[in-house]
């Protein structure tokens, strides 16, 4: 009944749940399409130029049906790509509104409507994440002004409502921010390069629970897979976040200092 061995850390991309977000047309879908055995659950148009397997999804029921078919396992797909998770959330909200015969989530008092939507969204996403396939969630990016204790900062975040953002970030292993990085070109002139950012920063959402990814990788699935396969770059992040720095523009490369474990003060426990 009880385990006799430890669960090994996730070492395969097909075990991961990944959130990839960034501005329109940067190449998020193209990046994900190169994942092994990719199947797109396409809640948004925009895959026309990609030669991929896709299930067009127009409603939450259609998404549930697709998930059910996936769960039956009679297929060869290894990675499920929800493109976009933002639209999936909207469909979920519409579905719940229809179910409860309301026009908007706010029509049910005391936040009940929002809670119903979030619970349904979390249930389905969680079930999808527990399937034996890789799960990539795609989202667009937006700038959001956040009021902190020391002032306001502008942060790039996925275009999900705040509570849904917390749900998604809480369940994924890796958060990849697709960004443009300016660097010197071959002729010395500045050129823009598409990159993935995987480490937390004051200016954008990002993260890597696996600890296997470098801070910045080219927006290229082969390079991403190679970096992941190469293994840990640093110990996986542990509780103890970094102090906030002043707001900077999108694409700033200033990384927050690495988190370190704040060990329990067991030494002090002896003295009462």
């Amino acid at each position: 009944m009880l385990p006799t061995e430890k669960t090994p850390p996730k070492a395969s991309l097909s075990d991961l749940t990944v959130l990839a977000y960034g501005p329109s047309k940067i190449g998020k879908s193209t990046f994900c399409s190169e994942a092994e055995g990719a199947l797109f659950l396409a809640t948004e148009a925009g895959l026309n130029n990609l030669d991929v397997y896709q299930v067009p999804i127009a409603t939450w029921e259609e998404l549930l049906n697709a998930c059910k078919a996936l769960a039956e396992g009679k297929h060869a797909f290894k990675t499920v790509i929800l493109d976009t998770v933002d639209n999936a959330y909207r469909m979920c909200a519409e579905h719940m509104c229809q179910k409860f015969k309301i026009e908007h989530e706010s029509d049910l008092g005391y936040g009940k409507g929002y809670a119903l939507v979030n619970n349904e969204f979390y249930r389905v996403l969680n079930k999808l994440a527990l399937q034996p396939y890789g799960l990539f969630l795609i989202s667009h990016s937006q700038e959001r002004e956040i009021e902190t204790r020391t002032g306001k900062l502008t942060r790039v975040v996925p275009t999900l409502p705040e509570k849904a953002r917390k749900i998604v970030i809480g369940m994924v292993d890796v958060i990849l921010f697709c960004d443009l990085e300016v660097g010197p070109g071959p002729d010395g002139k500045p050129v823009q390069k598409r990159v993935l950012r995987s480490k937390p920063n004051v200016n954008y959402d990002a993260g890597d629970r696996t600890g296997r990814l470098p801070e910045t990788i080219d927006l290229d699935f082969a390079k991403f897979a190679a970096a992941f396969a190469q293994g840990p770059t640093a110990p996986a992040a542990a509780p103890s976040p970094a102090p906030m720095a002043p707001a900077a523009s999108v694409g700033a490369q200033t990384a927050a200092p690495k988190l370190t474990t704040n060990a329990p003060a067991k030494a002090q426990a002896a003295g009462r």
């Binding site: 204790r149 917390k166 970030i169 292993d173 937390p200 329990p264 003295g271």
Partner: protein, 343 residues
């Protein structure tokens, strides 16, 4: 002896309510990245009330609000706070133009020993610090002045004041630190008006409303006019009228018995022992009944729900040393209470 951990009422109260939340805040020193607007409003009003009670200078107190909401012309949230705080303070100054108490201290910091009630020995691990909003004299008795901003005052709110652990803690430590016998507490409750500044209606909204009225009209005519946005002056006037209502401010005086001090000492000591045990074993269990205590999620709900995911931690929280409320206090702290009680 290793350096002792400074603790506050807030810490012990949180630890008592949810050990997991106390661990996030006071051991790992995490706070949400985003400021809680409910707490921000309370802090602003505390600052204003301190100036008001110190100087009775309404302009100076209002100036604090003006400076805190300097971007109210562009920022909707700042405008909302500015209107509410300004009207609340003006209403308060009008209601309490004269006071029947004498202010002795404002924002007074204190620090004291946590005493083992059985041995009378001070804790080797913790000290307790805090800051009271004020100490006032009424007749020949001293009272703690405690400001509270509340969404409303109902029977439950008033009943809860009797169980306020914070005030017993403060009264006990102030009494020991300052040598003043604290008879009780004067709760100064300011209610937050729920009025909203009207945004008016758009031309389209007006036309739709007018069409609806015309359809119902027997004469085929309507005298409806487009509702225009409420000006700042109009909204302030509406808020002023609201704050002229008696229920928007409330003073409640409670006496504290010496028995409460004995109970407090015993409870506080028990909490220290429970905290030491939790820290030694590194076990901090979650009290799920506390997750939505105030009708909104606990600040650490997202972190708990994700099982402490580093992704949530790193993207929604930052590290801040605990006891922020003490750092805002004036530097003048008093000698540790109970220092005469040693081994």
């Amino acid at each position: 002896m290793s350096e002792r951990m400074t603790t506050t009422y807030s810490m012990w109260n949180l630890f008592r309510n949810c050990r997991k939340a106390a661990h996030w805040r006071y051991v790992l020193e995490l706070v949400p990245l985003e400021k809680d607007r409910h707490l921000s409003f309370g802090s602003l009003m505390h600052e204003c009330l301190e100036v008001w009670h110190r100087s009775r200078d309404l302009a100076a107190a209002l100036d604090i609000i003006d400076r805190a909401c300097a971007k109210r012309a562009q920022d909707e949230e700042q405008r909302r706070v500015w209107h509410l705080a300004t009207a609340m303070l003006r209403g308060y100054a009008g209601r309490y133009a004269t006071e029947d108490f004498e202010v002795l201290e404002l924002e007074k910091a204190f620090e004291g020993e946590i005493i083992n009630p059985e041995t009378a020995a001070p804790s080797r691990s913790f000290i307790l610090a805090g800051k009271v909003d004020g100490i006032v004299r009424i007749g020949d008795e001293h009272f703690l002045l405690e400001h509270k901003t509340a969404a409303g005052i109902d029977a439950g709110y008033l009943e809860r004041l009797w169980t306020d652990f914070q005030i017993t803690v403060y009264a006990y430590y102030v009494e020991r630190a300052l040598g003043i016998r604290v008879a009780g507490v004067l709760y100064n409750v300011l209610v937050k008006a729920r009025l909203q500044q009207s945004e008016g209606e758009t031309e389209e909204e007006f036309e739709a409303r007018r069409a609806e009225l015309l359809a119902k009209s027997k004469t085929g005519k309507s005298s409806a006019r487009r509702r225009l946005p409420e000006s700042d002056d109009e909204f302030q006037a509406r808020l002023a009228a609201k704050y002229a209502e008696p229920e928007m401010f409330h003073r409640e005086m409670l006496y504290i018995s010496r028995d409460q001090f004995n109970t407090l000492r015993a409870e506080l000591w028990e909490l220290t022992q429970a905290f030491l045990d939790a820290r030694r074993r590194d076990v901090w269990y979650q009290n799920t009944s506390f997750c939505f205590q105030y009708g909104r999620p606990c600040p650490y709900f997202a972190l708990c729900r994700s099982g402490g995911s580093p992704n949530v931690l790193e993207n929604f929280y930052e590290r801040r040393p605990p006891h922020e409320e003490l750092r805002a206090a004036d530097a003048e702290s008093v000698s540790p209470a109970g220092a005469n009680e040693t081994f």
